[in-house]
Symmetry: D2
Subunit: 368 residues, 4 copies
């Protein structure tokens, strides 16, 4: 059969979507036990829908990781990566919204079949762990549960798959590599970090002046605020000083290398330059996804609290506490979030030398 023919082999909706299989995979255990609980169907379907979307998210992340895995990522792939990460964002928004459907089940409804689930638990979702791993959630920062590693609930084969993801390179690590390859930080006479340092000092001085001259603040408040500006100052030291930055990495407080961090800052500050639009969109999308995961964990924790109160979950975890902790700690691109602290107003921004500015632009040649 030649390819064109094969392409057009006809098919029906029912077969294409394998609905026979799909719609035959809801087995209410409460019904098996002859005490059918109406809401168990919702519970099953909600979780199956989650798993289908996780499969889709993995499909997208795999493809983006694939685009970045070559040391010299083709710049034309940045646009494709952004589109696929934007899709992950839309899916995550849906997953958050989906919690509202689950919440139409009351705690009492849930208790009607909760006994039958034991000890199954969302904790055992392999695909969710794959998603976290592909994104690059650091293994050593994961909240443990009963002092056991998150992967302990999986058989060896799946454990190996998770390890393999970290070995091959997570999205976090590949983005770091890509940022490190970014040029522009030092070109001819232009030393980005020196210019930035000068602008920064100017800005902090302005803030202190404003506090001193305020008509609304008492002396005590002025003192307190001046102190806070001072502590911001301390914060800036890490970007001005490679040693300080490396020290924070060693302490596990930062993950991106100094060079990658500088590049991310540069992209954020000069995002209005044409050539930096897409890189800026890419970084923004990663932050957005990170935030959406956090929101989802948080809403999930809220829902578990409402459903179970402080009872332990079927998986044995005190579900609300565990989820709430992951919402606080399981951040994947915290270093990108922290760039915000380092931004300075456009008006204070060091002007780029002409030759760099030209390199950051592109022009259409018109045929008129």
């Amino acid at each position: 059969m030649d390819k064109t023919k094969e392409k057009y082999t006809t098919i029906h909706y029912q077969d294409y979507l394998q609905l026979d299989k799909l719609l035959d995979a809801q087995n209410m255990r409460s019904a098996l036990a002859a005490e059918p609980a109406h809401e168990e169907m919702l519970f099953i379907i909600v979780h199956q829908v989650y798993e289908l979307w996780f499969k889709q998210i993995i499909h997208e992340l795999h493809s983006v990781v694939g685009l970045f895995v070559d040391a010299k990522v083709d710049e034309s792939n940045i646009g494709i990566s952004i589109a696929r990460l934007n899709r992950v964002e839309e899916i995550m928004k849906l997953l958050i919204k989906q919690i509202s459907v689950m919440e139409t089940m009351t705690p009492l409804d849930f208790l009607d079949f909760r006994g039958y689930l034991f000890p199954a638990s969302g904790f055992q979702s392999f695909q969710f762990r794959v998603v976290e791993s592909l994104m690059g959630l650091p293994e050593n920062q994961r909240i443990t549960y009963h002092q056991q590693k998150y992967s302990s609930v999986f058989p060896k084969e799946q454990k190996d798959q998770l390890a393999e993801i970290y070995k091959k390179g997570t999205l976090h690590d590949l983005i770091e590599d890509w940022l490190e390859r970014m040029p522009f930080l030092q070109l001819g006479d232009f030393n980005f970090i020196e210019k930035y340092r000068e602008a920064l000092e100017q800005m902090l001085k302005h803030e202190l002046d404003a506090i001193r001259d305020s008509e609304y603040l008492t002396d005590k408040e002025k003192e307190k605020r001046a102190e806070m500006v001072g502590s911001t100052d301390t914060y800036f030291q890490s970007i001005l000083n490679k040693e300080t930055h490396d020290q924070l990495i060693a302490e596990g407080k930062k993950r991106f290398s100094y060079k990658a961090t500088l590049a991310a800052l540069f992209i954020n500050l000069y995002r209005d330059e044409p050539i930096l639009h897409l890189p800026f969109q890419l970084l923004t999308s990663l932050i957005e996804i990170d935030d959406l995961f956090t929101s989802w964990r948080y809403r999930h924790a809220q829902m578990v609290l409402r459903m179970l109160g402080n009872k332990m979950g079927t998986g044995g975890s005190s579900g609300h506490d565990y989820l709430n902790k992951t919402a606080q700690k399981h951040k994947m691109f915290e270093d990108l979030h922290n760039i915000s602290t380092l931004l300075i107003p456009r008006s204070a921004l060091p002007k780029l030398p002409k030759d760099i500015k030209r390199q950051l632009s592109y022009y259409f040649t018109t045929n008129e």
Copy 2:
């Protein structure tokens, strides 16, 4: 094995959700043809998720139909019905939102694998037809496609199942029966419809006075508006006159019987009486679901337009036109919507006689 034991047979997440089956049901036909189109996965997953939610909606509608199917529905079931219909609302909101995920696929992405789908089409979703039928979409008002009946794409067994739903009683018909059983429309001296007629005349007279006395309107505008009030007047005739109403039913312009319509109006007008709260919530929920289906059809039509423009869909329908028409015509509880036209302000509402009012209340007896 005794029941208690069985209840607690332990199970794992993976097995409970039958993930082996579920996650093995995505076969990209573009990949089979050795031209893998990245976005085909999204297309499959989106439609599978739709089908899972349709299964859930059917689960809820079946149960509500079951609760109403006995001639004397236990009033304690009204609350349960409302809760389950509210769940259908939440699911429908999610299905509408889900279109945003589909829209992350561009038309060009879609064309990469569209050829492989032929002639599969959402038109062939059996579950969706079950949902429409359970709700009570009248068969004779369905938009035909290529002059063929919607059920023509299904094998005999499925056709029979659809017919069976109509025979057993749709939600629409069961709600009509329940409304007809509602008491209160004529009790002792209180003749609801007579009192309503008087209030109505008073209200229309007020509106005409306001138009006549307005300082802003020109004479021509006044004339036009007075005409419109007049046409509203005509509209009211159907509720004031059983013959007119029955005529409209004969013409296919109304579906609910005169008696059921009166009861629905009564519930809407006197919804603040304690005993009518839940009946009012029930009717509101049905309207809400109807609206959500319309919104979904409409957004779906919009998405198809964006994806395909005026090209015909894989199922051969000019998808956008078909869906747009169903959004305009496939209303399930239009008679409930039309109650709004018949409402009059609370201040004009006929006072209920004391004995009826008492019957519409319930009291806690306090133990203090």
Copy 3:
């Protein structure tokens, strides 16, 4: 002028909405300073929209508080209260969604005009404090900011208004009173709490059996889980024992009285009884609002982190930290949330005696 006439004095859209005033209230300070920052308009409008919605929320809460303030709330008002609280829910959902609009402003955009805002801060929103107070956020649980009371930023008149709300009775306190007036907990031979205690013991025994008999768990895991069931057991003591409960109130760990808590538990357990539908909806709505406030605080904290990083806000607070803490601590109906922990499956629920059951029902008398 007689009343009917006055009612129909005509008016135009522009005047009705006072658009001259409304649309003249956006003064970009960056423009005044001759350095117009495009995004300052968004910043102003977003906050003005918040304040308009706060006014609406206050309008609703005031009316609900008014309905409950009479010791003998007319049961017909429960339905109205639910409708208005549901409206607050919808508004809160919108306020959460609105953060997405704010997030279209990048940190760099914000820095362009941030200097002009100093020291204005959302911390100074009086209406938001009114909302929190009307709901009944306990004053002594509020997160302080720089060791100062939240009301310290307001002039005396506004401080007095806030104090007055607590004095007159917050929604929290009025709901507590209403719960305490609930009958049914002890009627004739039926002693609710004794029946509940028996059911509870049965349920916990089942859970321990399931753990012991599981084929999946190791001995160590079994031990750990049995321990957790034990600690749940401890948790139940407070509902079984008034002294324990009162002790927790004294320690500030609970707020609702023992009697009110029992009534809330009863409503949750027997919510399928017709007369308890609306009370159950009322309690559910309060929990939902509480959750929505928490979500809003949390998303707000996330947004501030993205906008400012760890810089202090214009109001001088380290905005993210403050907001994050309020999301964790500023719960208004935590006692209602905790009811979930106390629920037991319907199958274990003590049967109600016939005479109580009859009091919990209401019947239509049919006119046929």
Copy 4:
């Protein structure tokens, strides 16, 4: 006072947002008439919030129009335009969601104060007309109301402002100009439209083959489908033939010039080329905004139907009908939507010659 000083003049939240004005602009007319209707507050606030958001949308559209108004738009402004249009999208999503808040008001609630609004109507919102005009809604396609022009309700000064917008150039017209300036359609040997024609013929032939060879379709169905492909074919003639296109413009069926349409098609087909990413995002954003306006009009029509049924609105229009018609007809970028019909699969896409491809790329020069 020097500029730096002025910049830091301190201000309070209350004054910055002009809350005294803003929160004093809600005058319930039902209260003036001594028949306070609780829900009138919601009605006022909802509409005021709409007007605030309209002001914001106008702020964004004005700025984007300003960026495009110079014949040679700086390419660096494309990114800024996209960001601001994305903001309009987020606001529109919020306005659609806001309808859910309005829907918490029941028709009966509305009737309590509807009499006081007469003849005020959303039809009289000047800002909304400014938004439509800035977007470029063609004046001659506007749905008239009572045979009167939409602008007839405004005083001369406002009428002039609307006319001025069309004279200065709407977003639609400026985008058309920008598309016309796009190079690449004919460069050296590469004649885009000729290559496209060949690819098109190949694609249509494939589709006809698939229909002919299908095992599922009956002969009658095959005939019908072949016919539909034929009609698609006709559709393509307008892009292949300038005269046909110009004829459609003359008939009012198309608005974009032939040249602009070709450029939009080119951008859509070759959007994966780096330099076309942002132009593609720009066009996508315009389609998205158009769709969101349509959704909003549609949901608005639905809400009016629910609130008033077929009664006329306070402005005298049969509100639902008018809004429903605008949802069907008031499209602003329909030509961009129609591009979808003209797309062909990537696999059929004519390969770009090397020199053009190079012009569509940009490269970082690395400093390593």
